[in-house]
């Protein structure tokens, strides 16, 4: 299994509070991704990173920011959480941008009340 750790695994918070989710990898892969999974939508890309301090937006980036100060860590921040951001969040990594599959962490279930 790819060495990917997401923390926390579960979190409940209130509307308007800031939330940060962490993804940590031990594979030294260049590319890291954040997805959200909602019923009826499958997984959708929020942001991705192609190196330290290099990030770009995905399909559903509004309301989210990311940072990558080290190869092994990719942080997803909800500056002011809203109930519509209640979801399961997955981190993924890949060795190359294309031609390689992405391997996923175990997900973080985030509930915003």
């Amino acid at each position: 299994d790819a060495g990917i750790t997401q923390s926390p695994r579960h979190k409940v918070t209130e509307t308007g509070t800031p939330v940060t989710l962490r993804c940590h990898q031990t594979e030294n892969h260049r590319y890291m991704y954040w997805y959200r999974q909602d019923p009826g939508h499958g997984l959708r890309l929020i942001h991705y990173s192609y190196g330290v301090k290099d990030t770009d937006k995905g399909e559903v980036s509004d309301g989210y920011s990311v940072s990558r100060s080290k190869t092994e860590d990719f942080l997803l921040t909800l500056e002011s959480a809203t109930s519509s951001q209640t979801s399961v969040y997955f981190c993924a990594i890949s060795e190359q941008r294309s031609n390689q599959p992405q391997h996923f962490g175990d997900g973080t279930r985030l509930s915003i009340l």
């Binding site: 499958g42 399909e59 399961v88 993924a92 294309s98 031609n99 599959p101 996923f104 175990d106 997900g107």
Partner: protein, 118 residues
């Protein structure tokens, strides 16, 4: 923009039988990968099988095989000798290989929930 459609929200199969999950996609590109991921109740996302669009031969991984029809933009997953541990959500996904902003991004279908019954 690419889209991936899984038309079967739920399916069931008896243990030891064969089941086929459907996936169609829409793209104008010629270079891409297709994937099937499995998500059991544990919530993990597990890569099952992948297919390069330029390869005519269908990919196989043990009991899992695909029927890739490029002209029809169809990518079905066949599971042979179904086992109880195959019970999961199955997601079809598309990855563009063409240089550009969407290169390498995974586009997922909405999933098919498969139940294997004893």
């Amino acid at each position: 923009a690419q889209t991936v459609t899984q038309s079967q929200p739920e399916m069931s199969v008896q243990e030891a039988e064969t089941v086929t999950l459907s996936c169609t996609y829409d793209t104008s590109e010629s270079n891409y990968y297709l994937f099937w991921y499995k998500q059991p109740p544990s919530r993990q996302m597990i890569l099952v099988i992948r297919q390069e669009a330029y390869k005519q031969q269908n990919a196989t991984e043990n009991r899992f095989s695909v029927n890739f029809q490029k002209a029809a933009k169809s990518f079905s997953l066949k599971i042979s000798d179904s086992q109880l541990g195959d019970t999961a959500m199955y997601f079809c996904a598309f990855m563009s290989l063409n240089y550009g902003g969407s290169q390498g991004n995974l586009i997922f279908g909405k999933g098919t929930k498969l139940s294997v019954k004893p």
